[in-house]
């Protein structure tokens, strides 16, 4: 492949990484404020974000770190909070060339947050690692710098701006799923069922006893398998490239 077109692929990923980075900035800014609140230094907070790249996991970790909990407790907590990534990781394995090298797989894996996964999963198959690298190279600085600034000067960014940026990631999620849902009734059904399931687990008496960390995985397993059984993906459709 020519180097110009390889750069174009990376650039496309980097451009798609911009809304991710904006959304991350708002969330990680809030994380930075909280991390500073329990006595983590600015640089340590940024390093923590750089190494982990996970919103729910990092927020949850602060309770254990603040309380001086054991390393094993922290490891188990992170496993539970982040186990959804196993499904995403397995799902993405179906989108790359089987021959993709171990090194490239291990590099992509570092950046497999919910958002990086979502963009990569809906890139035309087979996924080009350069596209994911492009997203990561914009999203990770957004996450890390947001944490740094939040920890260093939590109150400087106007609250109105932080509030507005809160919608960036969700806007991006909708931009990813709605065009595909318009084209496929089964994808639309999966999205609506997932939303309904997510609402039910949060508010329905009884169901809301399921800890919040497990909600996403419960909905994913339930809706995903029901859809797989009643509407298995036709062979042709699987091969079709969704642009």
């Amino acid at each position: 492949m020519k180097s110009a077109s390889r750069f174009q692929i990376w650039k496309k990923g980097a451009r798609h990484g911009i809304p991710v980075a904006l959304g991350y900035f708002a969330v990680s800014f809030a994380f930075g404020i909280q991390a500073a609140g329990i006595g983590i230094s600015t640089v340590q907070a940024a390093l923590l974000s750089l190494l982990n790249l996970t919103s729910a996991g990092q927020l949850a970790s602060l309770d254990i770190i603040a309380a001086g909990g054991s390393y094993l407790t922290l490891a188990l907590q992170q496993f539970v909070v982040n186990i959804r990534y196993m499904l995403m990781s397995a799902s993405l394995s179906q989108n790359v060339e089987p021959s993709l090298s171990t090194g490239k797989r291990m590099t992509i894996a570092y950046g497999l947050s919910d958002e990086v996964f979502a963009l990569s999963a809906l890139y035309p198959k087979p996924l080009d690692p350069l596209y994911t690298y492009g997203i990561i190279s914009v999203a990770v600085p957004g996450w890390t710098v947001g944490t740094l600034l939040g920890a260093a000067m939590g109150q400087i960014l106007p609250a109105r701006i932080v509030s507005a940026l809160g919608l960036a990631i969700y806007g991006m999620f909708l931009a990813i799923i709605i065009p595909d849902a318009k084209k496929s009734r089964t994808v639309m059904a999966a999205v609506l069922a997932a939303m309904a399931g997510s609402i039910a687990l949060r508010y329905c008496p009884g169901l809301n006893l399921i800890p919040s960390n497990y909600r996403l995985i419960v909905v994913t397993l339930a809706v995903g398998f029901v859809m797989a059984l009643i509407a298995p993906v036709p062979e042709e459709e699987e091969k079709e490239e969704t642009a």
Binding site: G68, L74, D114, L174, Y203
Partner: protein
Amino acid sequence: MSGNIYIYMLVMALVTYLIRMIPFTFIRGRIKSRTLRSFLYYVPYVTLGAMTVPAVFYATNSPVSAAAGFLTALFLSYKNKSLLTVAAGACIAVFLVELIPGVAVF
């Protein structure tokens, strides 16, 4: 804080990385079971749908502005606008709606 912050960081980074790395690195090629393949096909749509609703309504300083952002994003994505346009449009809608007195408290 009584533990070593750097050990905490490394422990959680390692656990999170292994979860992300192992399936992606060790599942090579096409999974044989059609049901499992179909399940994995639906995973991104289901996770994104479930992550968006109802969390989006808590993402800003007021459910009203969040709803405005959500509807704006729905409309723009239905029109097949780009990721950046949809995300920016949703943020701008939140900002504008929160300028209306009484919508959000700062």
